[in-house]
Symmetry: C2
Subunit: 166 residues, 2 copies
């Protein structure tokens, strides 16, 4: 798990990320007594093909035909994504209408997403610091938050280096 966090901006053995995520997912579903079915696993695996967010219709296009030899309908993907999100295995990035695998599923979920507008790489950071900062402000307002998620667009270190800062 620490793997992705640490070196996602560097080249790395992505196979390791994928298999780690799948294993974590299987374990979590077993623990919770829910089914990681074929479709759900397939969608999760597709989501994990990169550290970039993927649209629902992209996923749909990549899913294999079902046993009737037909393309699955949008509902299929959305249902799988709903399930995966419910169990914290993927996040939806509202600013992109897209989905990305969560590198530490099953844990408390505040988070900060650093979204590179050049290469679309997404790095998820833990949200503790933000939560600590915000807590008093929210309390002062009397506002009771559900989740503290933050999507930050910008340029990642790699793209800055490549002169893509603009």
């Amino acid at each position: 798990m620490a793997h992705q966090d640490a070196i996602a901006y560097q080249s790395h053995d992505h196979h390791h990320c994928i298999e780690g995520a799948m294993k974590a997912a299987r374990q979590l579903c077993r623990q919770r007594g829910v089914q990681l079915t074929g479709q759900r696993e397939a969608v999760l695996r597709l989501v994990w093909q990169s550290h970039r967010p993927v649209g629902a219709y992209d996923l749909l296009g990549q899913l294999p035909d079902n046993r009737n030899g037909r393309k699955p309908a949008p509902t299929t993907v959305y249902r799988a994504l709903d399930f995966l999100r419910e169990h914290g295995l993927v996040h939806r990035l509202d600013s992109l209408n897209a989905y990305i695998g969560c590198p530490h599923p099953g844990q408390q979920h505040d988070g900060v997403f650093l979204i590179c507008r050049h290469c679309r790489h997404v790095q998820e950071l833990p949200g503790e610091r933000v939560r600590q900062t915000l807590k008093p402000l929210l309390t002062a307002q009397g506002f009771s938050p559900d989740a503290l998620l933050m999507e930050i667009p910008g340029v990642c270190p790699r793209c800055q280096q490549d002169g893509e800062g603009a």
Copy 2:
């Protein structure tokens, strides 16, 4: 301007919010040498009808017919919204696909939006504290952010009081 910030959760003279926003908009556009045309003003005024976010097609439905007696097309609203956003007069809330007036346009724009999932009231707070907290984290990652906006779903004080905490 401080008006809305302070008492938006309380009942208040909303007319004051609207006219304040319109006046600020006119002034800002004059300063910047851009045109606050009829359409743009109409859209801004509609956005300011409440402290709740409004969808683009809602706005569209409320716009008067154009001089040909026809309903304006979606493009019309999106163009107006683009303009208003460009000048910081409205924000788009990605988590809702909806738009809301900015209570302090023309200023630096980090911000935190407290979105009540019950009554949909939105309270915008200044983002300084969050920025201060995040700065070192982002620097450590080498990530160069464009904007720090945060949408926080939850329950507002008023709805909590009304027993709508669930």
